[in-house]
């Protein structure tokens, strides 16, 4: 049980590192799907003792949304907006990986210093949650395309989700549903915006949006 939990968390760390080092947009989408699946399993595993309809629904919904619907939306956006395969970084892949590796111990140190009341079952997951958030933010900052920013945003949300599991254990399900809906709408809107940006400007480079400012 503990073993399984820790290997899931380890998978999360590795998936983040894969994201940082990966060069292809489609890889991003695959990793996002994987992360959604891991999170769903994590939720399920934590409540294995007292399984309820609500937990099942939540983890099922989470898996459905994060590992099927979002990737499908993103793939569609890639196809429609005719996104070039490369992610086009501001910070190179190797440098990104090294930064990721440096971020990991920083997050462990940060988590040890945080005066937080942790759930006993999830004590080890707080640093990993922080690391996931940091990776998401890093992706937003260091990648050029609008699509990669959507991905960064999703990773950030995943990190927040894990930290919530670590801190509260069980979030009121109305809040969780709210968060899920929130992300869904965000991804949906970003998909549309991406398509529109692409149609107007023939590309989706956000750094060129600066030509719009007055």
């Amino acid at each position: 049980m503990k073993m399984l939990l820790e290997s899931l968390l380890l998978a999360l760390i590795l998936s983040n590192l894969v994201l940082l080092g990966s060069t292809r947009v489609r890889n991003y989408v695959k990793v996002i799907a994987l992360q959604g699946f891991i999170l769903g399993l994590l939720t399920l595993l934590l409540h294995l003792g007292a399984l309820s309809i609500h937990t099942l629904l939540l983890s099922g919904g989470s898996i459905l949304l994060k590992s099927l619907v979002f990737p499908w939306l993103l793939i569609r956006a890639i196809r429609e907006a005719d996104v070039h395969a490369s992610v086009e970084p501001f910070v190179g892949y190797n440098a990104s990986l090294i930064i990721g590796v440096l971020l990991l111990p920083f997050c462990f140190w940060l988590a040890s210093r945080l005066p937080a009341q942790l759930m006993p079952t999830m004590a080890s997951s707080l640093p990993i949650a922080l690391f996931t958030m940091a990776s998401g933010l890093f992706l937003i900052v260091a990648r050029k395309k609008a699509l990669t920013q959507v991905v960064g945003y999703l990773v950030l949300e995943n990190g927040i989700y894990v930290s919530a599991l670590a801190l509260v254990g069980e979030i009121p399900w109305i809040v969780e549903l709210g968060v899920l809906l929130d992300i869904f709408v965000a991804v949906f809107v970003m998909g549309i915006a991406l398509y529109q940006i692409n149609r107007e400007f023939d590309h989706i480079y956000t750094d060129q949006l600066s030509s719009l400012k007055g």
């Binding site: 933010l137 900052v141 956000t206 400012k213």
Partner: protein
């Protein structure tokens, strides 16, 4: 009482909303708005008069979800007094404006300007009746925004937008000071309700002094104290005339109201507050009228006269504060009384003058004094109304402007100070300053009336001069008659001032009435004498007309300068009339003259142009704001439109905060 006032307020808001909704149907929207303004103003006028005639002050308290206090609205003597000009002038302005918004609009809808007009009226009424600082500030800002949108009514013109921006920036800088002041007051008293603020333990001397300075800056920006006046000569000329009348006649007075109200929260005033106000009053009065003399644009000239009259009002206020601080009842009571009465009188005659100027511009299409002339023949009624306004603003008896200035004069004559040299010098300065201001104002309006209405047209004007329609003449007529009536009945109307003055100085109503009584007899003597003189002149004129009726009357050129064929361009111009005074005060005005001198026996064409920019804007504000802009340009580097870097800013600041917290 309060119910009547609130019903009036509801009338205004309802009519404003309706006008906004049905804005596309121009005539209907105009009708709804005008009927709404008249109904609302009448109701609030009734409520105000009831309070002024002796009914006890009223207030209502509602709870609301804002912190520190309740929604308190009420009418006491001071509020009621300020409600008078607000109600009267807004109704008259609305009637005047019926034709304006429809014919001058750049957009198809006249709903928005009317909604703003009604919003302005309603917010002014709330400003003077709010008894909670938060409600006051909300109404104050609504007033600012509504008037801003009215100022930029003709927003297609660059000059109008520029003036609008100056107004908006200036007034917001003022509001910043007010916010800080009210927050500090509220923190001290633990509540933002006015009654709590007034009842709180006295502030320490330094804090009270600081808050007083903040109030002077904050309210003075709206009122137009020099050097905070820069927005007035920009905004008034570009706004529609009835809006200028409303803004100059009553809106800037809310600054005076706010200052008086705030004085009530600061505890016993110190002598230097009064001296500061006297200084501001003197400089605003004298510089205002000097700059007015140097102007070529009729509405700009009137705008500078607003600065001048605010100066006179502030002189009265300063005298009143000084009187309270030095414990001299006549100085305090008569000073405040003169201040308040001049507020009302200025609303009447400045409203009249702006409306008359609007008629002139409506008819001729130009506000340039040196191009017009001879309009008294084509626009006799407008000319008569303007003349009445000009006489009143110059402070000549028996018109209303004289009565209020006389109160301020008399306050310093009757002051029973324990004669220290400085105090008595101050009194002399008040009188001397008022006399200088009055004389210069008379010169200035001789120029304005003489150049615009007398003589012959100096230039070919865009429009054909014609008398204004009845809807524009009627409000002017009402105002002109009120100027005369208030002047003639001044000795009887003194009692109305007792209640508002009581709010300012405290004490008992008997003491205030008694002190006001000492001025009644001299005022009555002067009024009666000048009224008799005036009717004598009228009788003589009438007699002359009778005598001439049966004879042949030839009209000839008055003065042809020895030319064989004089042209209208050779007439004395406004600039030449004002030139000696401008030259005399050149050191404070900084007028610029462009002149190509005439040389040789057969000179080529030459030209002369004078220009008097606002000294404070040129020398103080422009350099200041330019350097601020230069400084802030450095900050623009942070804002370059790169989304990624914006997120990086957020990440960095979040991380920094986190690390700071974990230190």
């Amino acid at each position: 009482m309060l119910v009547i006032f609130l019903a009036g307020l509801a009338c205004l808001l309802l009519a404003g909303m309706s006008a906004l909704v049905i804005g596309k149907r121009l005539r209907l929207a105009t009708w709804v708005a005008v009927v709404g303004v008249i109904a609302g103003s009448t109701l609030s006028l009734v409520a105000a008069l009831q309070i002024l005639l002796g009914q006890p002050a009223v207030s209502a308290r509602f709870t609301w979800s804002m912190p520190l206090g309740n929604l308190v609205i009420g009418i006491d003597g001071l509020s009621a007094f300020f409600l008078l000009p607000i109600s009267a002038l807004s109704a008259l302005g609305a009637i005047y404006g019926t034709g304006y918004f429809a014919s001058h609009g750049t957009s198809k809808s006249s709903g928005l300007p009317w909604a703003c007009y009604l919003g302005l009226v309603a917010s002014m009424a709330v400003v003077v009746t709010a008894q909670n600082a938060l409600l006051f500030i909300l109404a104050w800002e609504t007033m600012t925004l509504a008037s801003f949108f009215l100022v930029i009514f003709e927003h297609r013109k660059t000059a109008v937008r520029q003036a609008g921006w100056i107004y908006l920036v200036a007034t917001h800088c003022g509001t910043a000071f007010l916010l800080v002041m009210f927050l500090l007051l509220g923190k001290h008293a633990g509540s933002l309700d006015f009654d709590q603020l007034a009842a709180a333990t006295p502030l320490t001397g330094q804090l009270a002094g600081l808050l007083f300075v903040f109030a002077v800056i904050g309210f003075g920006t709206k009122a137009g104290f020099i050097p905070l006046h820069v927005w007035l000569p920009e905004a008034h000329p570009v706004a529609p005339s009835h809006v200028s009348a409303l803004m100059s006649g009553v809106m800037i007075k809310t600054g005076i109201y706010g200052l008086i109200r705030t004085l009530g929260f600061l505890g016993a005033p110190e002598a230097w507050w009064g001296i500061l106000l006297l200084g501001i009053g003197l400089s605003s009065g004298i510089l205002g009228v000097l700059f007015a003399l140097a102007q070529h644009d009729l509405k700009r000239l009137l705008a500078y006269h607003s600065v001048e009259n605010i100066g006179i009002i502030t002189l009265g206020l300063g005298a009143g504060v000084l009187g309270v601080a030095l414990d001299s009842a006549p100085l305090a009571v008569l000073g405040f009384a003169g201040c308040l009465w001049h507020v009302l009188n200025h609303a009447l005659f400045k409203g009249l003058l702006f409306l008359a100027a609007g008629s002139v511009i409506h008819a001729t299409g130009s506000a340039e004094i040196d191009r017009s002339g001879g309009l008294s023949k084509t626009m006799p009624w407008t000319a008569t109304c303007f003349l009445v306004g000009a006489l009143a603003i110059s402070g000549l008896p028996p018109l209303n402007g004289f009565a209020s200035e006389f109160l301020i004069y008399y306050s310093s004559l009757a002051a029973d100070l324990r004669s220290t040299v400085l105090d008595n010098t101050l009194l002399v300065i008040i009188m001397g300053g008022l006399a200088l201001i009055g004389g210069l104002a008379a010169a200035c309006f001789t120029k304005a009336f003489g150049m615009v209405f007398l003589g012959l047209p100096r230039d070919r004007l865009p429009g054909v001069p014609h008398e204004a329609p009845f809807s524009m003449l009627a409000p002017m007529g009402v105002l002109a008659v009120s100027c005369l009536a208030v002047g003639l009945l001044a000795p009887l109307l003194l009692n109305v001032l007792a209640l508002p003055v009581l709010v300012c100085v405290g004490g008992t109503i008997e003491m205030v009435s008694l002190t006001l009584g000492i001025v009644r007899q001299p005022l009555a003597a002067i009024t009666v004498t000048s009224a008799v003189l005036l009717s004598l002149i009228g009788a003589l004129l009438f007699w002359r007309q009778r005598m001439l009726a049966r004879r042949v009357v030839n009209s000839a050129v008055t003065w042809d300068c020895g030319y064989d064929r004089p042209s209208a361009r050779m007439q004395y111009s406004g600039s030449s009339f004002a030139a000696p005074l401008i030259k005399l005060f050149g050191f404070v005005l900084g007028s610029r003259t462009e002149y190509s001198p005439i040389t040789g026996l057969f000179p080529a064409a030459s030209h002369l142009a004078t220009h008097t920019p606002d000294l404070y804007q040129e020398r103080l504000y422009r350099p200041l704001f330019m350097s601020i802009a230069r400084l802030l340009k450095q900050v623009r580097r942070l804002q370059h439109g790169k989304l990624q870097v914006y997120v990086l800013y957020i990440v960095i600041s979040l991380l920094a905060l986190l690390l700071w917290e974990m230190r």
